[in-house]
């Protein structure tokens, strides 16, 4: 196959990498004054990468000897990732400007771009090596972003914790990869699938599978590998937390789906138990632990753990319906979670400093009615209450599980989702029925306001027309894996 076509297939990553390097040069010479320019250009680069998805990057086939898969599945996940990355760049300037300490430096958008390139590599990986390199590119950028506010001790702590635990998880994942490679003789997903299907070296391959799934569970913060999530989400600057809760989550879930289906598809009976356990544990633990939180960022961290659990319900179902329900779930989850963090970004005291306690939301329906409505929409949706979109995404994954014959599993997961509803609704109760706390200061930035309105409208019943498109796209994406 000619080389230029292969490069065209990897165009989204190329655009991001080259754009990031050029913007890095601008940042190096321009200094802190160039932040605005670099941020907006980075948005343009992300849009460019998104447009390039329409070309050979989503046409199917494989590039670089199977290392890279430019199919619809990858393209769908990348579109979500680029969207979330763009939003996290847009919401950053105001947060950093109003937080005493560090200003936003132009490296922030550059690191987001590089991270997006890594996530692109992850979701298109057709080989354990491109999987690992992409994962490291994404994680390394994330560690730096977590400790981006250097003078804030919580931010530094978050970065350090994330780094140490992330390195441990990478070690576990690499150990699994080396076992799989050792016992199958190949790192290509197609070859690994053959090895699992042949039934030779069964024990060794099974050990490899367990370690690989443990490493991936850490990256998507599924129980029992979730311990880092609340601390990192709480400590990291809020725009970075919004980024963590959206783009890398999509990438990790999509990657786990691809590994499970593409590489380890024949071993579905083995990994299904692991996924079911991780899923139920995430849903139950994420919901129960969130009840006692008084910090909104920590609460949303536990909520993200629970949401990974629901996405894994779809993965456990397996098959085309299962995969499409996973993508369906994460697409709606990304919009809900970005919207919730946009509300969190508006929480500032009279002097404009960010506040994070749930108590400060009290009586927001009277002080900031618009914001309260938006937050209520996101919370009801995260709780899975019809007619909001969060209900349909949960319905999809449960239906997939039921069609796969996992009745008990689906029933337990659905029952456990009511625990989650408790703490989401508690926030609505605090906003609407508690005595008002001091009103939030500061005005809403027009860009943030616009994003907030868009995400709230998409999640509300007005977003129903989008569901049809979403179903078609996720169906096409899932077809690419089979």
């Amino acid at each position: 196959m000619n080389y230029s076509l292969q490069l065209m297939m990897a165009l989204p990553e190329l655009v991001l990498a080259v754009g990031a390097i050029l913007l890095m040069l601008v940042a190096a010479w321009g200094g802190a004054q160039s932040t605005r320019l670099v941020s907006w250009t980075a948005i343009a680069v992300l849009i460019g990468a998104g447009i390039s998805l329409a070309g050979p990057a989503s046409a199917g086939g494989e590039a670089f000897g199977g290392l890279y898969r430019p199919d619809m599945f990858a393209a769908f996940a990348k579109a979500l990732i680029f969207l979330a990355a763009g939003v996290s760049i847009l919401i950053a300037p105001r947060f950093f400007a109003e937080t005493s300490g560090d200003d936003l430096r132009p490296e922030y958008p550059v690191l987001i771009l590089l991270s997006a390139a890594g996530m692109g590599m992850m979701v298109s990986a057709g080989d354990l090596m491109s999987l690992y390199v992409g994962l490291e590119l994404q994680s390394l950028s994330a560690y730096i972003l977590a400790s981006f506010m250097r003078r804030d001790t919580r931010s530094a702590e978050a970065g350090l914790k994330y780094f140490v635990l992330g390195a441990l998880a990478s070690g576990i994942l690499l150990y699994g990869i080396s076992l799989v490679y050792g016992f199958s003789g190949t790192t290509l997903f197609s070859g690994i699938a053959d090895a699992y299907a042949s039934g030779e070296q069964k024990t060794g391959l099974l050990f490899g599978l367990v370690f690989v799934f443990s490493g991936l569970a850490f990256k998507m913060s599924a129980v029992p590998f979730h311990m880092w999530t609340p601390d990192v989400y709480e400590g990291a600057p809020t725009p970075v937390t919004a980024f963590f809760a959206s783009a890398p989550k999509v990438a990790a879930i999509a990657l786990a789906t691809r590994v499970a289906i593409d590489a380890m598809g024949p071993a579905i009976a083995d990994w299904r138990q692991i996924v079911i356990f991780a899923s139920l544990a995430s849903i139950i633990f994420g919901s129960v632990a969130a009840i006692r939180q008084d910090n909104i960022k920590r609460l949303l961290a536990y909520s993200s753990i629970a949401n990974v659990g629901f996405a894994l319900v779809g993965l456990a179902a397996g098959g085309e319906a299962g995969v499409s329900s996973v993508l369906y779930y994460v697409a709606i989850y990304v919009v809900m979670t970005l919207g919730s963090f946009l509300v969190v970004l508006q929480m500032r005291d009279a002097e404009g400093r960010p506040v994070e306690t749930i108590a400060s939301l009290a009586g927001m329906s009277r002080t900031r009615p618009g914001l309260a409505v938006a937050m209520a929409i996101f919370m009801f949706s995260l709780a899975g209450i019809p007619p909001l979109l969060g209900f349909f995404s949960k319905l999809q994954v449960f239906l997939a599980a039921v069609h796969a014959g996992l009745f008990v599993f689906a029933a337990v997961a659905a029952a456990a989702s009511t625990i989650g509803a408790y703490y989401y609704l508690k926030i609505v109760k605090v906003m609407y029925f508690d005595e008002p706390a001091p009103a939030f200061g500061g005005r809403t930035d027009p860009v943030e306001g616009l994003l907030l309105v868009i995400s709230a409208v998409v999640i509300s019943p007005l977003g129903w027309p989008l569901l049809g498109f979403l179903e078609v796209w996720t169906g096409a994406a899932a077809k690419a894996l089979f």
Binding site: A17, A63, L67, M129, Y143
Partner: protein, 203 residues
């Protein structure tokens, strides 16, 4: 014959310098013995037709790790006498580890002589005629170019991170401005005065 001689020479020096790495009282000497051991291990690798690993040993271990380690030892002023004080306390653990390692070596040798693990597939088989540096280069820059470039980006991110997290503009230092130094002319820095005798100097 010469290969055999070279093998025993390298192997003996590795063993001796390895022993001295542990036994010498001065930590700096330990590191120097370690460097010697690495060099000779590299020699052994050349004998085994693994030139690439030989070069890695020299460049990575001797060049980077050992020198770095030497700097750490010399700069941090660690009290090694104190570190060694409790060594007998851990003798049992150390002995157990040593036994485990010996057992593993025996098992590995036994398995190897019984016929190694047969792998069904080779992902990227190489031509036996090509030496291994060329073979690695060919794979790295053709088949695995994509991940190679990705690894390059990972290193770039590491560099950006190190700079972003540590570099800050400082106002309390006076850096050298070479352009200003070069632009300075003799007439800006000196002046001619016709100074009367017997009076003080004005500065």
């Amino acid at each position: 014959m010469i290969q055999l001689l070279a093998f025993y020479l390298f192997a003996a020096v590795v063993c001796v310098s390895g022993a001295f790495t542990i036994l010498s009282r001065n930590p700096v000497h330990s590191v120097l013995w370690l460097i010697l051991a690495f060099f000779n291990a590299a020699g052994l690798m050349v004998l085994a037709n693994a030139e690439f690993i030989a070069m890695l040993l020299v460049i990575v271990y001797v060049g980077a790790v050992a020198v770095l380690f030497l700097f750490v030892v010399m700069m941090l002023n660690i009290d090694f006498a104190e570190l060694r004080a409790g060594v007998m306390k851990y003798a049992a653990v150390g002995f157990a580890l040593a036994v485990a390692l010996v057992a593993e070596i025996l098992i590995a040798v036994g398995a190897y002589s019984a016929g190694t693990l047969q792998l069904g597939r080779r992902i990227a088989p190489i031509d036996a005629k090509v030496n291994n540096i060329e073979a690695i280069g060919q794979l790295l820059y053709s088949r695995y170019l994509f991940v190679f470039e990705g690894a390059g980006l990972v290193l770039l991110v590491a560099m950006i991170g190190a700079i972003v997290l540590t570099l800050r503009p400082r106002t309390d230092v006076k850096p050298q401005k070479i352009s200003r130094q070069v632009q300075r002319r003799a007439k800006d820095a000196t002046r001619n005065v016709n100074h009367p005798v017997g009076q003080g100097v004005e500065l």
